[in-house]
């Protein structure tokens, strides 16, 4: 490298959300090394220029190492930087986020999952990163097929309505939710398939081809 002046520390942080017991939860890991050893924090780590292709690749490596699973996709959230955000020195952290099915956590020994309403005070600027991620998640969830990825392949409109309510953190009127979601062209009824039970049979749906890009911008 040609520069002789000092470079900032370069790291990644990940904000992974899931829905557990019908609540939007954040996935944290306990820090094994100083600073803030033993504290719950966002899974993160330094960029390794020898092995990482780019910062997204670094984030995937960190998730594998710290949580024990492969993230199905990641979206870049925002980059946090400055001289005071980490005691080890001037640093840049490229933050990523994703909304993942809870089943991915089955094989993780270390992931700790907490409802977003019950988070402890987090170290570094992680509170700020989480606030930004929740804001982004909620604005994305309105217009995209993203929350639908938490469902099994086949689901009812009722299931979907519940998932959107949880990711958005607000009650959604059922009739207008139904209208909006059909307008988006992200789900389609499966001809002749219904869920039967105590109530009247409920039409089963699946994601359309169009929906299969989870973060597709609709605006």
């Amino acid at each position: 490298m040609e520069t002789t002046f000092p470079q900032p520390l370069a790291m990644v942080d990940t904000t992974l959300f899931t829905i557990l017991h019908e609540r939007l939860c954040l996935i944290l890991a306990r820090r094994k090394e100083p600073p803030e050893q033993g504290e719950l924090a966002l899974p993160g780590g330094f960029v390794h220029v020898q092995e990482d292709v780019d910062t997204e690749d670094a984030a995937r490596r960190v998730i594998r190492a710290k949580l024990g699973f492969d993230a199905p996709y990641l979206e870049q959230l925002y980059t946090f930087s400055g001289k005071d955000r980490d005691t080890r020195g001037w640093s840049i952290s490229v933050a990523y986020y994703a909304l993942i099915p809870a089943s991915l956590l089955d094989h993780s020994q270390v992931a700790e999952t907490l409802p977003v309403e019950d988070l402890p005070k987090l170290p570094f600027d992680h509170d700020q990163i989480v606030a930004k991620a929740i804001e982004r998640l909620r604005s994305k969830a309105t217009y995209s097929s993203l929350p639908a990825f938490l469902l099994p392949e086949i689901f009812t409109l009722n299931d979907l309505h519940g998932i959107y309510q949880q990711t958005q953190g607000t009650r959604l009127d059922k009739a207008s939710f139904r209208h909006k979601i059909m307008e988006q062209d992200i789900i389609e009824p499966i001809p002749g398939q219904f869920r039967t039970g105590a109530h009247r049979p409920a039409q089963l749906y699946r994601l359309t081809h169009r929906a299969l890009t989870p973060f597709e911008r609709k605006i």
Copy 2:
């Protein structure tokens, strides 16, 4: 700094747009040093940990140094990274963008302003950064007061319609534009003030208080 392993190079790049002769233009600067010396490129530079508070501060310093003016505001666009994007080594570039009034360029000796449709091939991954910035600008412009910041304080609906057409790069139906913009609550008529001329008097408007956060998200 406690790490002993090599850190990536950390830099910022800026994509500044303006409207000149009714066309959306990008502001470029000719590179004074290698690599790519003499080429037109996005104004950018290394983070200076000794003097910059954060990467946005670094971007403001770079704009001042390379273009000779103070950016009124900057929005973070996206962070580009990897081992191959810069020949000097594994690098992270935090990119910023803004839409600025052409009058800011009056005191710049070095800024070169080119219509976005007529850009040359740019060095590094700058083509990719510009593509992302145009995409973001156009998605933001639909819903925000951003383009209105290119106008003088007092303007007609016709002026505003022209500016939105240029930032969006598409023709907008006048009646539905008028309807949408009034719905956003970002402009208001100035009671009793009209522009007179060859045509019938045109109502003059100004930005509302609400509009004065240029990047406010409406979703």
